[in-house]
C-alpha cells in the first residue's frame, strides 16, 4: 500500500484490490428491514436452513418406480399428457428456496429469507473486505436474501380474516377478535386454564366485553352483555384468577351462546322492530326483575346514542337508584352462573338501571350516537323507576325479546329495560345506536358506586392512547379527590383510551377491586376515595 501524503489537508492512501479466484465460498447478502432493528452482534447462536416446504408442491406424487405398483410407461404418458395440456411445471431449485433463520434458539426470533430476483442480472455486487495486509479483496455476491421476522403470535386464517372484514363496521371492539378465536379453540378442546388465564389477563376488558360488540345485533349484545356482567359480577369479591377464569369461561359460554344466536339472528335493521307490538314488551318488562345481573341492557346501549346523551342525566338519576338495587342483588348472586342464565332469559328486565347510569356516563364517549331518537326521553322517564329494572331499551324498537336474551351487565340491563318499557314500536333508533350506547354503559362502572362495580373487568392491556386506564391513574384520581364511578369513567373516555366502553367498565371494575378504595356517600352518591 502506498500512501501519498500530499497537501496537509488531504491524505490519500492506495490499496490493491484483488479478486480471488478460488470460489469455494459463495457470498450472499442477508438484508433486514430497517424497522426490525436487527443487531447481529447480539446473536449468541443461529441456525439457518433452506425452507423445503415447496418441494412437496413441486415434486409430483410418488408412484413406485419399477416392480410393484408401477405402470409401464407411466412417466412418458404423464409427460405427454402435460405437454398436451400445456402445463409447464417449474423445476424445484434448491438454490432458490427461501432460508429459515432461527436466532437464539427456540425462544428467539425467527426470520424467513426470500431470494430477491434480478440482483445479478445487470450489475454485479461485490463485497470488499480489507485483508490484514491492507489490500482489499472483492468477492462477488451470489444472491440477495431479504429476511423478514416471522410472527409468533397467532394470526387469523384467510377465512377468518374475511369474516372479520365483513363485520368490521359492526364490531367496535377489535381486540376481542383474537380473543374470541382463542376461545373458540378452547371450546374445541384446548386447555381451559390457559385460555381463561390468557383471556383474563390480557383481555379482561375484552372478556368483560365478551366478544365482538355488535352494533345491530341486539340479541347478541344483550347476551354478551349479560354474560359479561354476570361473570364479572359473579366474580366480584373472589380472587382475581378466579375472576379471570370465570370471565373466560363466562365468555366462552357466552360465546357459544352468542355464536348460536348469531346464526339464528339476522342483523337488525331499523325497520325491523316497527311492527312489534307493545304488549310483548310491556309484559317482559314487568316481569323482569332486579336480580337479573346480566346486562341485557348492554346490547341496547348502542342505539341509544344521542338520545342517551341527552337523557343520560335524567336516566342516570332514575337508574342510579335502580342500580343500587341491582347491585345489591348482583352481589347476592356473585359467583353463580345462574344469574347469567336468568339474565339471559329476562334480558328485558335485567336490572339495567345501573346500566342506564353507566350508559349516561359513556354516552359522551360513544361514537355512533346518531341513531337515538328523541323517543328515548319519554320511555326513559316512564320506565325508569317503574319497571323493575327495565332499562333503556326505550329507543330500541321492539327488542324486548332481545333484551331478555341478553343478560350479564346489570347496568346495561337496567338501562335497556327502562328504555324498552317506554319505547315500543317506532323503531328507527337503530338498535345499533342503542347497542352502542349500551356498550359503553356496561363499561362504565356502576356509577352509583354501589358496592364494588361489578361489571368491570380487571385491567386488561389497554391500547395505546394518550390516557391509559391503569391502576396508577385511577389511584391518582382517587387520592386527589373522591369520585363516583361515573366521574372515573369520564376520565377514561373511550375515545382517548381506545378501549370500548365495555372494556373500560370491566377494567375499571377490576382496578377498583384491587385498590379497594374507601367509600363515602356524598349527595347521595357513592364516591370512592383513597388516602395515602
Amino acid at each position: 500500500m502506498t500512501s501519498l501524503g500530499s497537501s496537509s489537508s488531504t491524505s490519500t492512501t492506495e490499496y490493491i484490490v484483488r479478486v480471488p479466484k478460488n470460489t469455494s465460498k459463495k457470498y450472499n447478502i442477508m438484508a433486514f428491514n430497517a424497522g426490525d432493528r436487527v443487531n447481529c452482534s447480539t446473536w449468541t447462536q443461529a441456525r439457518m436452513e433452506r425452507d423445503m416446504s415447496a418441494r412437496k408442491i413441486y415434486g409430483e406424487e410418488e408412484t413406485p418406480e419399477g416392480a410393484a405398483g408401477s405402470e409401464f410407461g407411466k412417466k412418458q404418458r404423464e409427460e405427454a399428457r402435460r405437454k398436451k395440456f400445456g402445463i409447464v411445471t417449474r423445476e424445484f431449485k434448491v438454490e432458490d428456496q427461501p432460508w429459515i433463520l432461527k436466532v437464539n434458539g427456540k425462544a428467539g426470533k425467527r426470520f424467513k429469507g426470500i431470494k430477491k430476483g434480478g440482483v445479478t442480472e445487470n450489475a454485479s455486487y461485490y463485497i470488499f473486505t480489507q485483508c490484514p495486509d491492507g489490500a482489499f479483496e472483492a468477492f462477488p455476491v451470489h444472491g440477495w436474501y431479504n429476511f423478514t421476522p416471522q410472527a409468533k403470535h397467532r394470526t387469523l386464517t384467510a377465512e377468518e380474516a374475511e369474516e372479520e372484514w365483513g363485520r368490521r363496521n359492526k364490531v367496535v371492539n377489535h381486540f376481542s377478535i383474537m380473543l374470541q378465536r382463542r376461545l373458540r379453540e378452547q371450546e374445541r378442546g384446548e386447555e381451559d386454564e390457559d385460555e381463561g388465564e390468557k383471556s383474563g389477563k390480557k383481555k379482561k376488558k375484552g372478556g368483560g366485553r365478551g366478544g365482538d360488540l355488535r352494533i345491530h345485533d341486539l340479541e347478541d349484545e344483550l347476551e354478551m352483555s349479560s354474560d359479561d356482567s354476570d361473570s364479572s359480577m359473579g366474580d366480584d369479591g373472589e380472587s382475581k384468577p378466579k375472576v379471570k377464569k370465570d370471565a373466560g369461561k363466562g365468555k366462552a359460554k357466552r360465546k357459544k351462546q352468542k355464536s348460536k344466536d348469531n346464526e339464528a339472528l339476522e342483523d337488525s335493521d331499523d325497520g325491523d322492530y316497527e311492527g312489534l307490538e307493545v304488549d310483548y314488551m310491556s309484559d317482559e318488562s314487568s316481569s323482569e326483575e332486579e336480580p337479573e345481573k346480566g346486562k341485557p341492557v348492554k346490547a341496547e346501549e348502542h342505539p341509544k346514542g344521542i338520545d342517551e346523551e341527552s337523557e343520560s342525566e335524567e336516566e342516570s338519576e332514575e337508574e342510579k337508584q335502580n342500580d343500587e338495587e341491582a347491585k345489591e342483588e348482583e352481589e347476592e348472586e356473585e359467583g353463580k352462573k345462574t344469574p347469567v342464565q336468568m339474565e339471559k332469559k329476562k334480558k328485558k328486565d335485567s336490572s339495567g338501571e345501573s346500566d342506564s347510569s353507566d350508559d349516561s356516563d359513556i354516552e359522551g364517549e360513544t361514537a355512533s350516537a346518531l341513531f337515538m331518537a328523541k323517543k328515548r326521553t319519554p320511555p326513559k322517564r316512564a320506565g325508569g323507576r317503574g319497571s323493575a329494572g327495565s332499562s333503556r331499551t326505550g329507543s330500541r324498537p321492539g327488542t324486548p325479546s332481545l333484551d331478555s336474551a341478553s343478560t350479564s351487565n346489570t347496568l346495561r340491563a337496567a338501562a335497556s329495560k327502562l328504555e324498552q318499557g317506554k319505547r315500543q314500536g317506532p323503531s328507527i333508533d337503530s338498535p345499533a345506536a342503542k347497542k352502542l350506547k349500551m356498550e359503553p354503559s356496561t363499561q362504565s362502572p356502576v356509577p352509583s358506586g354501589k358496592s364494588t362495580p361489578q361489571p368491570q373487568s380487571g385491567k386488561s392491556t389497554p391500547s395505546s392512547s394518550d390516557v391509559q386506564l391503569t391502576e396508577e391513574a385511577v389511584r391518582r384520581y382517587l387520592i386527589r379527590k373522591p369520585m363516583t364511578t361515573k366521574d372515573l369513567l369520564k376520565k377514561f373516555q373511550t375515545k382517548r383510551t381506545g378501549l370500548s366502553s365495555e372494556q373500560t367498565v370491566n377494567v375499571l371494575a377490576q382496578i377498583l377491586k384491587r385498590l379497594n378504595p374507601e367509600r363515602k356517600n356524598i349527595n347521595d352518591k357513592m364516591h370512592f376515595y383513597l388516602t395515602e
Binding site: T13, K25, M30, A31, G66, N122, Y126
Partner: protein
C-alpha cells in the same frame, strides 16, 4: 445433525465491516479475467482532512482494459472508476457465505455501500454504444425464404403413412405365435419390471398377435379397470411376488 444449519457467527461477533459495491457488468467481466493472484487494480481513498467525505476511486489495471470479443481496438474499458459512497441507512445488511459443504458463516456486516462508476471517456462511450447496439438486436428475426416450403401436398394417403403401413405389413403383420412357454417367460420378466401393463405395450414387448396374447394373459393375469382410465393387465396374485419375482409356469 446439529452441525448442519449452524451458523458460524464469528464475523458478526467481531463486527467485521465490509463494503458492498455495485460494479458494472463489463467491469466484473474484466475482473473475471484477472490472472495470477487476482490483482485487478488499485483503490485510492482520499480523505479531505477533517471534512469527512472521502473520495474513493478505483483504477483498473492496464492489462485488464482489453475487452474480448470486440474487434474494434479503440474500444476498451475505462481505467478510472470513481466510487459513489452511500450510507447503509437503517437497514442491516449482513454477509453470509455458504460453502459447497453447506457450511454457513456470517462474514460480517455491511458498513458502507458504494457504486462504482466509470469515469466518462471517449472509449467508454464507444463501448456503451456497442453494448446498446448488441442488446437492441431483436432475439427473433423474420427472414425471407428463397424457396417456398413445399412439403405439404395433399396426399390421398400420406406418403409417409403409406410407407409405414406397408412396412408394418411386411414385418410380420400377423405376428407369429411363439411358443407359449417363451411368451410366458417374456411376460413374467416384463411383469417383474412393472406391475401394470397396457395390452398394447405387452404386444409390443412380446411381439405376439393380440388374441393369442390375450389368451395367455387371461390365464396368468387379470384385467384391471383400476379406476384409472387405462385398463391394464397385471399378474394374478398367486403368480406375483414383488419382493423377488418368481416365475411360475402354468
Amino acid at each position: 445433525m446439529s452441525e448442519k444449519g449452524e451458523v458460524d457467527l464469528t464475523g458478526a461477533k467481531q463486527n467485521t465491516g465490509v463494503w458492498l459495491v455495485k460494479v458494472p457488468k463489463y467491469l466484473s467481466q474484466q475482473w473475471a479475467k484477472a490472472t495470477g493472484r487476482g490483482e485487478v487494480g488499485k483503490l485510492r481513498i482520499c480523505k479531505k482532512g477533517n471534512q469527512g467525505k472521502p473520495e474513493v476511486s478505483f483504477t483498473l489495471n492496464e492489462e485488464l482494459t482489453v475487452i474480448d470479443g470486440i474487434e474494434d481496438k479503440t474500444v476498451s474499458a475505462p481505467r478510472e472508476h470513481p466510487f459513489t459512497m452511500q450510507s447503509v441507512g437503517g437497514q442491516t445488511l449482513a454477509v453470509f457465505t455458504e460453502t459447497s459443504s453447506d457450511k454457513i458463516t456470517l462474514e460480517g456486516v455491511v458498513v458502507q455501500r458504494a457504486e462504482c462508476r466509470p469515469a466518462v471517456s471517449e472509449s467508454y462511450m464507444r463501448l456503451k454504444r456497442l453494448q446498446i447496439e448488441e442488446s437492441s438486436k431483436p432475439a427473433r428475426l423474420s427472414q425471407r425464404l428463397e424457396k417456398a416450403v413445399t412439403n405439404n401436398y395433399k396426399p390421398v394417403a400420406n406418403h409417409d403413412y403409406n410407407r409405414e403401413y406397408e412396412r408394418k405389413k411386411k414385418e410380420e403383420g400377423k405376428r407369429a405365435r411363439a411358443d407359449k412357454q417363451q411368451v410366458l417367460d417374456m411376460l413374467f420378466s416384463a411383469f417383474e419390471k412393472h406391475q401394470y401393463y397396457n395390452i398394447k405395450d405387452l404386444v409390443d414387448i412380446t411381439k405376439q398377435p393380440v388374441i393369442y396374447l390375450k389368451e395367455i394373459l387371461r390365464d396368468i393375469g387379470i384385467y384391471n379397470v383400476k379406476g384409472t382410465h387405462k385398463n391394464t393387465w397385471e399378474l394374478r396374485p398367486e403368480y406375483r411376488h414383488y419382493q423377488g419375482e418368481e416365475k411360475t409356469d402354468e
